[in-house]
């Protein structure tokens, strides 16, 4: 199968969906001539013109708000937040407007939009350009939240996001854009809310998402050398969340580690731990382990940042704790 980068896979998804649906409108900073600072929208201005690939002022609240208005009136906008950290600047429009409009209207309006953004650390971007915010997006009812880890998933999930009639927060990772992976030429989509077992195993269930999936797979490989069989599940979406796949795995392995790059405190790991003990308490043979970023702002200096963010070693330690 041919290989694409994560960025290319995303671009292909956007292109196919824009060809398919003339109502898709892109809005964002530097997304046109420059193609976005991570080059995901490269070439789209030339292909679709400035009406559909709309360069905006540096006004996140303004253009996310405009996207809500576009969505409520028959368009399918894709506002791009250059860094997820800027979601705070547009927070009212995301959390109070996009997420609640349908509910507050008793179902009278729809808000079909895909807020594309990227998050995460590991590049020395410091505290205002390195956060992982899926917990925040997940906490507020009304948004679906998608975090692909591979080029294949990035394409299939983004295409599905565009086929939804709901506000979707589509969260990429800045260190994944250059990663490569198989992406078939034929069209495909991946339904939102389906986790994927990226590596099957019997001894420990390891749930992760976004770039942490790559760490998880590395850790699983290393444990295999030691004779421990890890089942690595990529959550892919936090809303809707595929709890069933996790429970099924835990009923088999009786041990669970959850790893993510967002802060550990009240993170997805905490939620999954709570859900699993509610639904599968009798199947657990060890306390659930959570791996996440330390609860501090993300520091700049390399040796500090690498300790704050969870890496393969942190995951290995957690696995070793649950198998004793």
């Amino acid at each position: 199968m041919r290989e694409l980068t994560y960025a290319q896979a995303l671009r292909e998804a956007i292109t196919e969906e824009m060809d398919r649906n003339p109502n898709i409108i892109l809005l964002g900073e530097d997304i046109g001539v420059y193609g976005g600072v991570f080059k995901v929208t490269e070439g789209l201005l030339a292909r679709y013109g400035p009406e559909r690939v709309r360069e905006t002022p540096i006004s996140e609240a303004g253009f996310v708000g405009a996207a809500v208005g576009l969505a409520m009136t028959g368009k399918h906008p894709m506002p791009e937040l250059m860094f997820a950290d800027f979601a705070w600047v547009a927070a009212d429009q995301i959390f109070n407007q996009a997420a609640k409009m349908r509910y507050m209207s008793g179902g009278r309006v729809k808000v079909p939009m895909v807020i594309r953004t990227q998050q995460g650390g590991g590049r020395g971007n410091a505290a205002q350009h390195s956060q992982s915010l899926e917990t925040i997006f997940t906490h507020i009812p009304g948004l679906k939240v998608v975090l692909p880890a591979t080029p294949y998933d990035a394409k299939g999930l983004l295409k599905s996001a565009f086929r939804e009639e709901n506000p979707i927060v589509f969260v990429e990772h800045k260190l994944l854009y250059a990663t490569r992976g198989p992406v078939p030429e034929e069209e495909y989509t991946i339904p939102l809310g389906q986790a994927e077992i990226k590596r099957a195993g019997d001894d420990v269930t390891l749930v992760s998402l976004s770039r942490t999936v790559l760490h998880a797979l590395e850790a699983a490989e290393e444990m295999a050398q030691e004779g421990v069989s890890v089942e690595a599940i990529d959550l892919r979406c936090t809303v809707p969340m595929d709890l069933e796949t996790i429970l099924e795995s835990v009923r088999k392995t009786n041990r669970l580690v959850v790893a993510h790059e967002s802060h550990r405190r009240l993170g997805i790991g905490a939620e999954i731990a709570a859900l699993v003990q509610e639904h599968a308490f009798d199947h657990l043979d060890a306390p659930i382990e959570r791996v996440g970023a330390m609860d501090v702002p993300i520091p700049y200096s390399q040796p500090l940042e690498s300790q704050v963010l969870p890496g393969v070693d942190h995951i290995l330690e957690a696995i070793r704790r649950v198998i004793v």
Binding site: G62, A66, A67, G69, M72, T73, R102, G106, P112
Partner: protein, 319 residues
């Protein structure tokens, strides 16, 4: 002026309906039928009526928690509006939105909004939608004086200007943002002056003159429909009641309230119709009787409506 006697009577009837509707709301609020907070537009009916009379049904509109008048004027059924306020299943949002979230896409009402300034960028998006479709629809957003100091609002003005969006920014300057005089919160004389910095033409109008409001809005609507871009209208108005029920109003004098009350359009406008436009007293009285009858029906409908069932709770989150 292109308003005839029939238009003017229609405007009066609408104004009166809004006033009676809001007075009924106050009553329902006081006896506990309406929950949360209620922000009546009593005293500001002329802006709703004057501006909305210049709109088509398919134009888009966003407004604020003080937007009952604009919502009704845009075409929201007062029965559904009142049922919404009482939290009933027949409400325009099935009782899930309440006073601050009237929405009716069938008449272009894209929502009242409880966040100051937030409706403006949404209305710009709707305007862009119409522009992209090549339809001569316009979008209007109503906001208070307080909204001009919100970042999202400034961003919306700029977006509308650079996109040449068919939108009218309609400021109801009632001199106070909640309990704070706007004069203390800006360093300009008229809020309309803000627009120049965004390259948007602006006009200040007497907010107690429905005809002047209609004409100013119509000019802005015509400009927007013909591709001339956004306009900022500042209507100088006044609420004759507190910000919300329970407001003790220490921030303004009785004299100031009395001065505006003396000009209350709900009395001044019908008088003017009689004096200047050949409307008879009998016609005014007929309009009043019609509104009273309609309101009786509105109240009965709302009170007779069922509560929403519990299985509604988790509905309408996703499409």
């Amino acid at each position: 002026m292109n308003l005839d006697k029939r238009d003017l009577l229609q405007m009066y009837k609408m104004m009166l309906l809004i006033r009676r509707f809001e007075e009924q709301c106050v009553e329902f609020y006081k006896n506990g039928e309406i929950r949360g907070s209620l922000h009546p537009c009593i005293g500001q009916e002329a802006t709703a009526v004057g501006a909305c009379y210049a709109l088509r049904k398919d134009d888009y509109l966003t407004c604020t928690y003080r937007g009952h008048g604009q919502a009704l004027d845009k075409g929201l059924d007062p029965k559904e509006a009142m049922a919404e306020l009482l939290g009933r299943s027949t409400g325009c949002s099935k009782g899930k939105g309440g006073s601050m979230h009237f929405t009716d896409p069938d008449v272009g009402l894209l929502g009242e909004n409880a966040i100051v300034g937030a409706g403006a960028p949404i209305a710009v998006g709707a305007a862009l939608s119409a522009q992209l479709d090549g339809i001569d629809r316009v979008s209007i957003t109503f906001f208070g004086d307080g909204a001009v100091n919100q970042g999202a609002f400034a961003e919306a003005l700029n977006l509308a200007a650079v996109w040449n969006a068919p939108i009218i920014f309609f400021c109801e300057n009632n001199l106070y943002s909640e309990m704070t005089p706007i004069a203390d919160m800006v360093n300009i004389e008229q809020l309309a002056d803000r627009a120049a910095g965004f390259g948007i033409p602006a006009v200040t109008v007497d907010g107690y003159d429905p005809v002047a409001l209609y004409e100013a809005t119509l000019a802005a609507v015509d400009r927007a429909r013909s591709g001339g871009g956004p306009t900022f209208i500042e209507a100088m108005t006044y609420r004759l009641v507190g910000h919300m029920i329970g407001d003790t109003e220490p921030y303004r004098t009785q004299e100031e309230v009395a001065e505006w009350r003396a000009r209350d359009p709900i009395h001044a406008f019908p008088q003017r119709l009689v004096d200047e436009f050949g409307v008879s007293q009998a016609e005014i009285e007929a309009a009043q009787a019609e509104v009273e009858a309609q309101m009786a029906e509105v109240v009965r409908f709302a009170l007779d409506s069922p509560w929403p069932s519990a299985d509604e709770i988790a509905q309408d989150i996703f499409a």
